[in-house]
């Protein structure tokens, strides 16, 4: 008699572990399968973990979880070759309970989180690849693993298998993704002493800062870069849609080195020592790329369901929230003994009624618009930099004349109509 569980969860990232944690806490018999040596060993994140969705799983997690720094300042840079226009927000309220978000190192955080699911009663099996879902009479009944005698059965299988979700593809829930639906991102962890970090970012003990960098950080291609502070290291990374990378024939690691040696960035990293280099895809297709998320005996959560809000750099929080919603549906389904698609569709309804799908819907055109019209990062960022330089340089020109000159240079380059069109298009995409 092969082994049977109430629920098998494929992938011990934030989505899968959240689902496992909630299911196990509610008495379900849970198998959590991870292909890496340990949870987190295959996972990559720029590094911002939001408090809200994590707290809904483990109240006051910040008292015991391996976190780096609470973020008290978020900066946004529009960067040109030798200049930057910046804005941001720094608030001490973010430095105290209940906090807004934290920088984390995922290989450590994911292990801790998975251990919480284990303590709640889930069985975690590492070093195991799920090669396919087992389907009988149109219903997912279990999974096949790469272990000998590796078939395992369950009432429900949760696909938390990440951005590539080969299992979702196997079930026909989504087609192969297009290069414009994913962002290829590379990053480095650079060791730097706590004192140097605090000095360079103007921080005190246990305060963190994040900088999002647009414009020349991607050489004007559709994407962003980031620089985040850990306790005694920095995460610096850059990504663009895979389609932009292909079109511009960019080597991602050369783009990263370009960023690291950029005159606006280099002083932050001076004297630092590279500790790790990581590459990963981010699902950025948004609302329209979300696959089918519930079927007979199966649900899809987290990156596997493409739940990422690229504009607001939210992903792991959506993964956690979706994992929790899936768990709640599964618990109810277990209670009713009904694991059909119509029963599990409650998860879909929850998801579409939540902030996750509402936010993805709000930005459903953003990536496509900015991909199709590259002028925003390519032309307007340098233009804004030139305007700021002109405006703030004291050269005896009256301010009124300066303003006129700036307006003329903006509309002169592109024509008033085109500029207005561009503004309207961008506003429509993010409104």
């Amino acid at each position: 008699m092969p082994e049977k569980f109430d629920v098998i969860i494929v992938g011990a990232g934030p989505a899968g572990t959240s689902c496992a944690f909630v299911c196990a806490k509610n008495g379900l018999n849970v198998l959590l399968i991870e292909r890496g040596e340990y949870p987190g060993s295959k996972n990559v994140m720029g590094g911002v973990l939001y408090r809200k969705q994590m707290e809904e799983l483990i109240p006051e997690f910040w008292k015991e979880a391996p976190l780096e720094r609470p973020v008290i300042e978020q900066r946004f840079w529009m960067m040109d070759k030798e200049s930057v226009v910046q804005f941001g927000y720094k608030g001490l309220e973010w430095g105290q309970e209940p906090y807004n978000n934290f920088t984390v190192l995922r290989a450590q955080f994911d292990q801790w989180f998975a251990q919480k699911a284990v303590e709640a009663g889930a069985l975690l099996v590492n070093e195991t690849v799920v090669t396919e879902c087992l389907v009988e009479d149109g219903k997912v009944v279990g999974v096949r693993t790469d272990r000998p005698d590796g078939d395992v059965f369950a009432d429900v299988v949760v696909l938390a298998d990440g951005v590539n979700s080969l299992l979702g593809k196997q079930l026909g829930f989504h087609k192969e993704f297009r290069p414009d639906e994913v962002a290829l991102t590379v990053m480095e962890v650079i060791n730097l002493s706590k004192d140097k970090i605090n000095e360079r970012f103007n921080l005190s003990e246990n305060q963190g800062c994040t900088i999002e960098i647009f414009g020349d950080s991607t050489k004007g291609n559709l994407g962003t870069a980031f620089l985040y502070t850990n306790k005694d290291s920095l995460n610096i990374g850059v990504g663009t849609t895979l389609s932009s990378m292909i079109k511009a024939k960019l080597k991602p690691y050369e783009l990263l080195d370009y960023l690291k040696t950029h005159p606006m960035v280099k002083p932050f990293l001076e004297g630092g020592e590279s500790a790790e280099y990581l590459a990963h895809l981010i699902p950025e297709g948004g609302y329209r790329s979300v696959p089918k998320v519930a079927g007979n005996g199966v649900v899809v959560v987290g990156d596997a369901a493409q739940l990422v809000n690229a504009i607001h750099r939210e992903g792991s929080n959506m993964a956690m929230a979706s994992g929790k919603m899936a768990a709640e549906t599964i618990i109810l389904a277990k209670h009713e003994g009904d694991f059909s698609e119509s029963s599990l569709n409650r998860y879909r309804e929850e998801l579409y009624g939540s902030f996750i799908m509402k936010d993805l819907e709000k930005y459903k055109d953003a990536t496509h618009v900015f991909e199709k019209y590259p002028q925003y990062l390519r032309d307007y960022v340098p233009m804004v930099n030139r305007a700021a330089s002109k405006f703030f340089t004291v050269d005896g020109t009256p301010k009124k004349d300066k303003q006129k000159e700036i307006m003329r240079s903006v509309t002169g380059e592109k024509g008033t109509i085109r500029v207005l069109k561009d503004i309207y298009r961008a506003w429509k995409a993010v409104k």
Partner: protein, 94 residues
């Protein structure tokens, strides 16, 4: 020291290599005759793919398992699987 090329970056990483490749170029003739740019050799973040004049060399040992080559190959010419459980790249930090 901060790295400044891909060899130095890859050197920072820990891999538990499988003996068999999880990446397979299905038809090397397609690379030769239809793909002048050999795009995978450009965008792969770990420089796994190297064109050797007649065939594509696949250094799967250094793969980050990101999936870009599977999605980005214009001819769907790369069979992409996960390495055996517990094998492949082992991220220790982020």
């Amino acid at each position: 020291m901060s790295t400044n090329n891909i060899e130095e970056k890859q050197y920072l990483l820990r891999f538990k290599c499988d003996t068999k490749s999880h990446l397979t170029v299905l038809d090397h003739d397609i690379c030769m005759t239809q793909c002048p740019d050999k795009l995978c050799t450009v965008f792969c973040p770990a420089e796994v793919y190297k064109w050797e004049g007649l065939r594509m060399q696949v250094g799967y040992e250094g793969c980050h398992e990101c999936g870009s080559c599977r999605i980005g190959c214009p001819y769907q010419n790369i069979k992409w699987e996960y390495p055996k459980g517990g094998h492949g790249i082992v991220f220790r930090l982020a």
